[in-house]
Structure formats: C-alpha cells, structure tokens
C-alpha cells in the first residue's frame, strides 16, 4: 500500500528530525515524519511517583536492551566496553538526556589543522553560530554569558540552580585556579515559550514532568505540527527505497499495526542518530546500492565515536542537598579542553558536575556497588552515603577510527524483524590516557572541595549516549558520506542531519551541535531548492 507522495520525508523525530522539520515548514512543502516511538505522557514520568529512582532499572532505563518497550530496537553492544543508551519516542533521546547544551568550540572544527589528527570539518564555528543562537531560543537554553572558554554569545535564560554542591565544587575549582562556569542547559529556568519553569525536580534523565527540560516533543514539535508537518508515530522504517536512477524515492515502513507501507517522497532526510542511521542505510540494499544506501565508499557505519566518560564520585562528611536540582548540568569546567601535548594525549575533555541520588537510588546503587551491607552496619553505611556522595564526569573527546563501527547483526532483529545494529568499539590509547588524566584531576578538585574519599568508574560503561561519526561529512566523496551541507555524495536527494555526520566528536555533549547542523542543513536546502539535486 502506498500513500500520497510528499515533498519531504523525515525519518526520526528526535533532536535533529524535529529541528529540520520545523525549519523546513518555511518552504510550505508537504512534510511527513515517521517515528518508531510514540508521544510520551509527562504525567507518566517517574518523578510523579515515589518510586521514581527504580524506573531507571525498568521502562526508563538507558539501554534499549533492558527496557522492554516495543518502540525500541535491540542493539548488540557486547563487543564494546561502552553500551548504547538511547530512547525512541517523539523527542528521541532528548526525552532522557540531561539537557546539557554546550556548543562546540572553534578549534573543534579544525582538529587536523591544529593538532594533526583526524580531519577538519568542511564548515566552521562561524558558519554554525547563527544556528546555535536560533536553536538556543527554540530549546530554551539557560546559562551565563561571559565564559572565557567560548567566543562571546548570548544566553536566553539565567543559569540553573547550582545548589550546595555546585557552589562547593565552584570553590574547589577556585582553590586550584581552574576554570568552571554554569553550564549551558536546555532547561527553562523561567517560563519560556509556553513551558513552565524548572522546579528542581532532579530526575531530568527520566523525563521532565514539569516540561521545563527542552526535549523536542515540547519545543520544536508543537510548532512544527501547527505549521503543517504530519508526524506519524509508531512507524518503523525498514529501508529507504530508490528508483532506477539511484535517487531515493521514499521508505518502506511498518505502521502501528505492523502493516507494511510505503511512503513516496521527493526528498528523504535521515535523522535516526549515529547508530540508527547507519543501521537504516546498511539495511537499504538495492541493485544500485548492494552494500547499503550511500555506501559506495564503504564508510557508512565506520568511525563510530562515543564520548568516553570517566565518573568520579566524592564522599563528603557534610550533607550536600544533592538530590535536588537538574541532575547533570549545573557546572562545567573546561580547564583541560584545548590540546596540551605535555599531558601525553591530544585534544581534551570537559568536566560536568553530577548531583547525588535520592534515598532509594542511594540504597539500591549502594547495594549493587557493595557499599551498603544488610544487617548490622546497614544504617551507619547508609548515613555515610546518602546525600554525602556526588561528583563529576569527564567527557573525553573520542577520535574517529575506522574499526569502531556499526554493522548489521546477522541474527538479532527488532519486533518487525528488521536487523539490529551491532557495535564494534574499542578505546584508543589516546582516550585511555585522557581518561587517566581526567580521573586524577577530578580527584584533585573533589579533594579541594572537601571530599574525604572518591570512587571511580572509568570508562563509564553505560555512557554510550553520544553516537557520532558513522556517516561523516566532508568535501571529498572518497572519504565522507555526505557533503558539507548534509547531502549524500551518492544520492542527491538524500540528506542526513543527525550526529552520524560529525567529523570529530569534541569534548562536549553533542545535542546542540546536532540541532544547529540540522537547522543549517535545512537552511541550505531552502537556499538551493531550485537546483537541489544538481
């Protein structure tokens, strides 16, 4: 069964799909977006219940493999020290992200020129700057202007609450003379564009019941739909189809009832993240593209980058009030961001402050970490842990390596029998050295902040939430999958707008750069409509 052809078909309704859909409504083209997940109901989010911390072990877990939701697809990440974290719904992984919203730096686009590794991007910070600013308004970004780690920029909303722990860490950074700054966060600290202000619920990573966090179901999508975009949920795309000339002509998908359908389109835009996008392209095989769509050079799925994380928790003697306030984005430090070869590695990392857990989280995580015994001694151990433990993560820049990749698993499938992605990934020596450096520095600043002990997990196994590089951008069709404005080198009406087009990963959370890129690509499409396929 085929539906009426549309001008634009967008696959994926997450961070980038929402932004590109909203932006393209200026053109008055007919736009359909297919999303395998459904709308989330904020009234069902965990923070509305006392057992909120337990939901991370169930339907709000980070890994799609353990959630048991029909909307998810399984991922074989057994061959990776870092497991995949994502979410499938309208809003995609922005439903579960912390809302951390730092931009890339100018140097992040010139890695090869400045540091002799990886590749330069075909675009630069200045090119993206207006789209960063536009996106900050749409997502409702809180922060503070004047950060010496960045070129001057405006921030729409005041910073999130630092809280007792954020202030304490700020003093610790000051004692060492290190940089720190209130983080840019997609969290409405004041009423913004119809969104209620943050009330410091805490569990941003479990969905925001208040609607203050900028997930795209509450930012871009309401406006995009009002402006005419048709968003079809619970529609899982199996493959993008091509015509006899090798141009994309639509996609075959399964609707909510499992019925196979085909949507014809003049332009196809893929927005499925750094794992979902190569999975879809590799599964889109045809006579013209026997190795997968847009994959004539074999680069689709290659160069997978995560951000290797190091987590260092401090144990303090005083209470920290650390279960209150946005979980992961009050303070950031970029003291070790830019390359310093004397450190023994290239590129760098950011520190991000992570608050502590509530009583249930403290108890069950203490149990699993063998820090909280049962029987005699239980209460003393709990007293030492609860609200006295909080810390930081180092988000380390990964570099592209072809052997780190996404492929199709030969056996594992989703509930519609579409092959699942398989991850092969190993940490580079550069990343290991960076992690070691970060752990030592984190321990220093936690000690300066009053911690009496620290606990380390590095690399953080659950931290595969930034998925980048698997359909990289570049000017040369031999070494890249899409050109400098996101168009496939092989298929001139196929665009990719998610993190898979990143050339390098930087040492910051990628969402605001993913969305700025999506807006930039959309704008370039709009400017080139008359000769888009030339």
């Amino acid at each position: 069964m085929s539906e009426e052809p549309v001008d634009v078909l967008i696959i994926g309704a997450g961070a980038s799909g929402a932004a590109v859909a909203w932006s393209l409504t200026d053109t008055r083209m007919s736009i359909v977006c297919l999303e395998q997940g459904d709308w989330m109901n904020p009234a069902d989010y965990p923070s509305t219940q006392k057992d909120w911390e337990l939901r991370r072990f169930g339907d709000f877990g980070l890994s799609p493999n353990g959630r048991g939701r029909r909307e998810d697809y399984p991922v074989n990440d057994a061959e990776s020290p870092i497991s995949i974290s994502n979410f499938n719904a309208v809003g995609g992984s922005t439903i579960l992200y912390a809302g951390h919203f730092p931009r890339f730096h100018p140097s992040d686009f010139k890695v090869k020129s400045l540091d002799g590794v990886a590749d330069d991007w075909p675009i630069d910070y200045q090119r993206l700057e207006p789209y960063y600013a536009q996106n900050d308004q749409m997502m409702g970004v809180a922060g503070l202007a004047g950060d010496p780690a960045y070129p001057p920029k405006e921030v729409p909303l005041p910073p999130v609450a630092l809280g007792e722990f954020g202030h304490r860490l700020g003093r610790g950074f000051n004692e060492l003379g290190w940089h720190w700054w209130p983080s840019d966060s997609a969290i409405a600290t004041q009423a913004h564009a119809g969104r209620a202000p943050c009330i410091n619920l805490g569990p941003c990573l479990l969905g925001c019941a208040q609607g203050a966090k900028g997930s795209t179901d509450v930012t871009y999508w309401p406006s995009a739909i009002r402006r005419g975009v048709e968003l079809r949920t619970r529609c899982r795309v199996r493959e993008i189809t091509v015509d006899e000339n090798g141009m994309a002509n639509g996609a075959t998908y399964y609707d909510a009832d499992g019925t196979e359908r085909h949507q014809k389109a003049e332009i196809v835009i893929v927005a499925c993240n750094g794992v979902g996008t190569p999975r879809l392209l590799l599964n889109s095989k045809s006579k013209q593209f026997p190795d997968g769509l847009a994959n004539r050079n074999g680069l689709v799925g290659k160069n997978l980058m995560f951000h290797p994380y190091a987590m260092v928790n401090g144990i303090f003697e005083e209470r920290l009030d650390a279960y209150k306030g946005p979980m992961g984005c009050c303070v950031m430090s970029q003291e070790f961001y830019e390359t310093d070869p004397t450190r023994g590695f290239l590129r760098g990392y950011s520190f991000e402050i992570v608050r502590g857990m509530g009583p249930v989280g403290t108890a069950v995580m203490g149990l699993m970490g063998e820090k909280l015994p049962w029987g005699e001694g239980h209460h003393r151990a709990f007293e030492e842990l609860f609200d006295r433990s909080a810390g930081m993560v180092a988000i380390c820049e990964d570099l592209p390596e072809a052997h780190n990749c996404v492929s199709l698993d030969p056996e594992l499938c989703d509930s519609d029998q579409v092959p699942a992605p398989k991850i092969n990934y190993r940490l580079s020596d550069n990343s290991r050295k960076m992690i070691d450096h970060a752990v030592a520095r984190a321990q220093e600043v936690l000690a300066a902040s009053g911690a009496v002990d620290t606990q380390v997990e590095a690399p953080l196994g659950v931290a595969g939430w930034h998925l980048m590089g698997t359909a990289r951008m570049g000017s040369d069709p031999k070494t890249s999958v899409v050109n400098e404005w996101g168009r496939s080198h092989d298929v001139r009406n196929l665009f990719i707008v998610d993190g898979s087009i990143f050339v390098t990963a930087a040492g910051v959370n990628p969402t605001c750069t993913i969305q700025a890129l999506a807006l930039y690509i959309s704008d370039t499409i709009k400017k080139n409509l008359s000769n888009l396929f030339d």
Partner: protein, 153 residues
C-alpha cells in the same frame, strides 16, 4: 488468598527476615524493615512481577527449613543470633534470590514515609511540588571572569 499474597505464616517469617536485613534504627527511632511493613511492598512488587512469587517463596521455605533443622518450628521463632546465621547461610546458598530480596527490601524500605522523613527528605514524589534551592552566588566566578580567553580560534 491469591498466590501473590503471603500466607500469615509466610508473612511472619518474612517480617523477621526483613528485620534481619534492615534492622531497627534506634538513633532515628525507626523499626526494622519487617516491623515497618515492607512485606506489603513486596506483595505489591510480586503482583507486578509474578516471577518473584517463586523467588520469595523459595527463600521463606529455605529459612523455615533451616529453623526446623535446629528443632525450631519456624524462622521467626529462632533467637536473633541464629536468625543472622540463617540469613548468612541462605545468602551463600541462594545468592541470586537473596540478592533479589535485598534489592526489593531496600527499595521498599526507603520509600516508607517515616524513613524518608528521618532522612530529612519530603515523603512525596518530586513532582509537582519540586524543591526550593538557594540562590546562585555568581560572585564565585569573579576570578574566572578575569581570565583571558581560553579557546583557540
């Protein structure tokens, strides 16, 4: 009585087990997990996760069997040192089920209103009230503001 509810005997055993896992907290004037009624929470959980019915029953039966082997008709009738010994034994011989019991006992206990209040935490879900937080003291950033630009062009 449905199979996902504990019988009176099982409930008695379970209450004693839970008191052994999380004993009374005299400093906070709190009873142990069993006396606080965490068994009711476990009933709720096994309602949601039927696979736990068998897990909890296995442990209860094993602990009562331990008691009978010491000429006592049930676990709850054992003196406290023997109960602790029994729990150690079961933790060793049934590590998977016992870990599951620990997880759910901890989870239930730390959702109890009295326990939360003793920890100085409001006995409610975070939403919709949220939490007040102290105002930001951005004067702490004065030294950082004085730094020259840190980024490379």
């Amino acid at each position: 009585m449905s199979e996902d509810q504990f019988s009176p005997d099982a409930r008695e055993t379970l209450a004693a087990v839970l008191d052994g896992i999380i004993p009374a907290n005299d400093a906070a004037s709190l009873p142990g997990a069993g006396s606080l009624g965490v068994a009711s929470y476990l009933e709720t959980i096994q309602n949601r996760k039927p696979e736990l019915v068998e897990v909890f029953a296995l442990l209860i039966n094993a602990l009562d069997a331990f008691a009978r082997a010491r000429d006592c008709d049930r676990f709850a009738a054992l003196p406290l040192p023997a109960r602790a010994e029994a729990l150690q034994e079961i933790a060793r011989t049934h590590p998977g089920p016992f870990s599951s019991l620990l997880f759910h006992t901890y989870a239930g206990y730390y959702q109890e209103d009295r326990v939360l209040e003793a920890q100085g935490v409001p006995a409610r879900a975070p939403f919709p009230e949220g939490y007040e937080m102290e105002p930001n003291d951005l004067s702490l950033l004065d030294a950082v503001r004085q730094r020259p630009k840190m980024f490379r062009e």
